[in-house]
């Protein structure tokens, strides 16, 4: 209970500090508009943010303390702070780079780009490079079983590490760094293919339903209702189990089935969106004009409707990509996803996840699963940042 009392006391202190902050600000600056028009809530917000920042800074200092038990306790916060600063700095540098190099068009693009978006683009580029050149970048093969098993990440021999394997090795002695790098190729590649397929199916049918209406629309919409009423992960699992019986030992075939199954299940969500967006577009006069011209269905959908639906579809693409990604990870864990010995981030996280429990006294060990999970999270966050920005741009809002 003490902790709750402490929280209450802290909040009270912050509330008081907020008032003082505004009052002093008004007095000192001679009523500058910033302080003059500041509402009380905002003042408290500033104080809250300041307290959090100080706490983070202090945690960071503690995480570097020589006392191992204290340092261990703040290890993750410390690493998070370092990571955040590193990412922010590289995004910033990348934006400066983009503003000065390249064609006039890209330079202009970079000038109006928020830091989050430049971070997203940078991350996506890095992932793409890593995925495409995985073979050249990775120090070892993804299937290569090396002598030393269960090497702790960090490369510090005193803590059970080995400088040859900076991120350690897994249970049977495969280099985690190499597997992470190959994981980009496998996981990202397959997730991307799946998402694209889901969009092809969902968007085409959705626009078709929106344009044609009538019984086709009814039929498709009801079918989608049925599919959506079944929890998607469970349904994917059911179908994958059936598919793996069909595929037998053909690994390639199973991966193909997986792509198709997830794509079909996810395309229902795309369908709904595409249909809704499509319905708003088909009432436009330019669609009517095209119909009156006698245009065919294909032209209407792909040349008239699609270009106007890109913004919402792109936004959905970002989110969908994340979900597909996570679904594949879950399926891989359940033994029906990406087949071993191909490296896959989802499986890696689940395999190593239990080490998190030991964070209190062996944070280096606990960071192993966090690496694969961060690889997933980082990419999805990056994609979403870029999508956010594109949405914002296309919405034409000034703010």
């Amino acid at each position: 209970m003490n902790i709750f009392i402490a929280i209450v006391l802290w909040l009270a202190a912050i509330a008081a500090a907020g008032w003082v902050f505004r009052f002093v600000g008004q007095k000192v600056t001679g009523n500058k508009p910033l302080f003059r028009d500041m509402s009380y809530g905002v003042a408290v917000g500033y104080i809250l943010a300041a307290v959090l920042l100080v706490w983070l800074g202090w945690s960071y200092v503690l995480s570097r303390s020589p006392d191992q038990t204290i340092a261990n306790k703040y290890f993750f916060l410390g690493k998070a702070v370092e990571g955040f600063l590193l990412f922010a700095a590289s995004a910033w540098a990348f934006r400066i780079f983009g503003r000065n190099v390249g064609s006039a068009g890209t330079r202009k693009l970079f000038r109006s780009m928020p830091l989050t978006a430049s971070f997203g683009i940078l991350t996506i580029i890095i992932y793409a490079i890593v995925a495409i050149f995985a073979g050249a970048i990775a120090p070892y093969g993804q299937e290569e079983i090396l002598g030393a098993a269960n090497v702790v990440p960090g490369g510090n021999p005193a803590m059970g590490g080995n400088p040859d394997y900076p991120l350690g090795t897994d249970q049977i002695g495969r280099d985690i760094l190499s597997r992470l790098i190959y994981g980009a190729q496998n996981t990202v590649g397959i997730a991307f293919a799946t998402t694209v397929l889901a969009f092809l199916i969902g968007a085409t049918l959705g626009f078709l339903a929106a344009t044609l209406g009538g019984w086709l629309d009814q039929l498709l919409s009801r079918a989608v209702d049925v599919l959506m009423a079944i929890p998607s992960l469970i349904f994917a699992l059911l179908l994958m189990t059936i598919a793996s019986a069909w595929a037998g030992s053909e690994k390639g075939l199973l991966t193909f089935y997986m792509v198709v199954i997830i794509a079909v299940i996810d395309s229902t969500r795309v369908f709904r969106l595409a249909r809704a967006v499509g319905l708003n577009i088909v009432v436009m006069d330019y669609i009517e004009a095209a119909k009156l011209r006698g245009e065919g269905m294909g032209y209407l959908i792909f040349r008239e409707i699609l270009p106007n639906a890109t913004a919402p579809l792109l936004a959905e693409f970002g989110l969908r990509f994340c979900f597909v990604f996570l679904t594949i990870a879950s399926l891989s864990f359940l033994g029906v996803g990406i087949q071993p010995p191909l490296a896959d981030w989802g499986t890696m996280v689940r395999d190593l996840a239990q080490f998190i429990n030991f964070a209190a006294f062996a944070p280096q060990v606990a960071s192993a699963p966090l690496l694969a999970a961060s690889a997933i999270a980082l990419l999805t966050v990056a994609v979403n940042f870029v999508v956010d920005w594109m949405l914002h741009k296309s919405s034409g809002l000034k703010e």
Binding site: R111, M284, D285, Y286, A289, L292, R293, G294, T310
Partner: protein, 548 residues
């Protein structure tokens, strides 16, 4: 000389686009006394609304006041704190927006929105304000003033909403009201009612007002003095009567002149000639709701038939029947003497090509993701089968025909064009099909008068060159006057009167035609006063009730 209520001096406003600040208003000055009305007039984009808002110390997102002063009753609004401004807004200064339908919050009842400002500013209690609101509704001759406030905005007609908005502005008895084109969205007959009630209430409470509009005739009825703006610059300012009778600047003169564009009446059509389009006894319905009843008229080669009528009278529906989008329940449509299939999907390419349509809202009629070249090129390719260089050549010649420089505009997107230019693209797209007949559905209603005039002239020129026939749908009688050969008047889905233009503008009329004609504002400051006298004030309220 009474105390000046509002002083605007050297007002400059910038707006941001593409990372740079552009000047929107370049130094505007004016002063306003208590009870005085100033009219701000100018074409679209001239900065009228921006100035109007700045008079409240308010700028839109992305804009800022870069220089100058706005002093309201001794308070400088430019650098007043947000709190001080909030105190004034809605209490001493009120705003009436262009479209009441959009400016009322659809989620709340009228009366709740009415009482919000008085209650929030502590002027009156909710109950007092409600009672006062009913009183105002009664003054503004809204039907059923006791209960109309308990309706939601969508349950009230446009004209009534506009009056409710005026009542809302009066709710705190402000010293200054800004009217931003309060009647532009209304049709002529409704406009009269709203204008009358606004003028009355402003006079009764002796409120100062800024009246913004682009319609000279309207401002003439409302304002004591007029200020003309052009692209953010002040053109001239003068007392209303002086301004009307003796405009100094060329630009002002050209504005005045717009209203006089007119084509001579062509000779009457000989009987026996086959019409290009013949609509006979068409009855149509959306689902079970009947909309058109037994509509018949003919359109002959090289002629323009104007279809007029108030909003909802079935003008657009008639067009939809002709194009085949809404197959009529009864009746038939002939083209060049041959019966057309009623459903457009059953028509062949040739039949589709012959009749083209130009839409009112160029924004929604042009696919925003396609360049001008693609937009015009598509029908060229689709109907004429031209590709590559030939297509480009044809598109270029079409662009020249609508007086746009091909090299400049070929690769632009619709969003990079002005309203008038967009409308021209719509025309070019129709022309690309090389049709015989074009339906123009309110093609000039969304444009301001100078631009509209340009479009009308263009259409007339094309008709002369290509021998096109037009069906010209509009609710603006001035436009009818300038372009039509024949006129069809519609009301409630029926044709109430039709005939050659000159006949239509001469009495005797069908009573409805009469109402329409007499409602078109004229450039005489006394016109409204006289008209009201003539019609008898009470009629206005009744007309409004009838519209519900």
């Amino acid at each position: 000389m009474a105390e000046q209520l509002l002083k605007v001096r050297g007002l400059k406003i910038e707006g941001r686009s593409d990372e740079t600040w552009n000047q929107i208003v370049n130094g505007v000055d004016f002063e306003l006394k208590k009870g005085e009305v100033i009219g701000l007039i100018g074409e679209s984009g001239a900065g009228k609304s921006t100035v109007g808002l700045a008079a409240m110390g308010f700028t839109r997102d992305g804009c800022r006041i870069s220089a100058g002063e706005v002093e309201f009753d001794g308070i400088n609004l430019v650098n007043a704190s947000a709190k001080v401004k909030r105190e004034l807004l809605g209490k001493r200064i009120a705003y009436v927006a262009q479209s009441a339908a959009a400016s009322f919050n659809p989620a709340h009842r009228l009366i709740d929105q009415h009482t919000e400002a008085p209650v929030q500013h502590g002027v009156m209690s909710k109950a007092e304000s409600e009672a006062d609101g009913m009183e105002l509704y009664r003054k503004l001759r809204l039907p059923d003033p006791e209960n109309i406030g308990f309706r939601y905005p969508h349950q009230v007609s446009g004209g009534q909403l506009q009056r409710a908005m005026t009542a809302m502005a009066m709710s705190t008895r402000p010293d200054l009201i800004i009217f931003d084109e309060p009647t532009t969205a209304l049709d002529v007959t409704t406009q009269i009612e709203v204008l009358a009630s606004i003028r009355e209430i402003v006079e009764e409470f002796d409120t100062a007002a800024i009246y913004i509009t682009h319609d000279l005739a309207v401002v003439a009825q409302m304002a004591d003095k007029i200020k003309v703006l052009l692209k953010g610059d002040e053109v001239e300012e003068a007392d209303t009567r002086t301004m009307l009778s003796d405009p100094k600047e060329d630009y002002t003169k050209s504005l005045w002149a717009v209203r006089s564009f007119q084509r001579p009446q062509k000779p009457y059509v000989q009987t026996g000639q086959t019409p290009v389009v013949s609509v006979s006894n068409v009855t149509a319905a959306y689902g079970k709701v009947p909309v058109l009843h037994d509509v018949s008229f003919d359109i002959h080669a090289g002629r323009t038939v104007a279809v007029v009528g108030e909003s909802g009278s079935g003008k657009s529906t008639t067009a939809r029947c002709i194009t085949g989008l809404l197959p009529p329940k009864q009746g038939h449509i002939e083209f060049d003497g041959e019966a057309l299939p009623l459903d457009y999907r059953k028509r062949n390419k040739m039949q589709l090509r012959q009749a083209q349509m130009i839409y009112q809202m160029a924004d929604t009629a042009l696919n925003p993701r396609k360049t001008i070249g693609e937009l015009i090129g598509r029908p060229v390719q689709f109907y004429m089968g031209l590709t590559g260089k030939e297509k480009r050549k044809r598109v270029d010649s079409l662009l020249e025909e609508i007086e746009l420089e091909p090299s400049v505009y070929y690769n632009r997107l619709p969003s990079e064009l002005s309203g008038g230019q967009k409308q021209r693209i719509g025309i070019a797209r129709a022309l690309a099909a090389e049709p015989k007949f074009i339906i123009c559905d309110e093609v000039t209603s969304a444009l301001d008068q100078l631009v509209a005039e340009g479009i009308l002239k263009l259409l007339a020129k094309l008709q002369d060159e290509l021998g096109l026939s037009y069906m010209f749908i509009t609710h603006d009688l001035a436009t009818v006057k300038s372009i039509a050969d024949e006129v069809v008047v519609m009301k409630d889905g029926r044709v109430v009167e039709q005939g050659p233009k000159d006949d239509m503008f001469k009495p005797p009329h069908h009573p409805y035609t009469d109402l329409l004609l007499s409602s078109v504002p004229e450039m005489d400051p006394d016109w409204l006063t006289n008209l009201l006298k003539e019609r008898g004030v009470d009629n206005i309220g009744d007309a409004a009730v009838g519209k519900m």
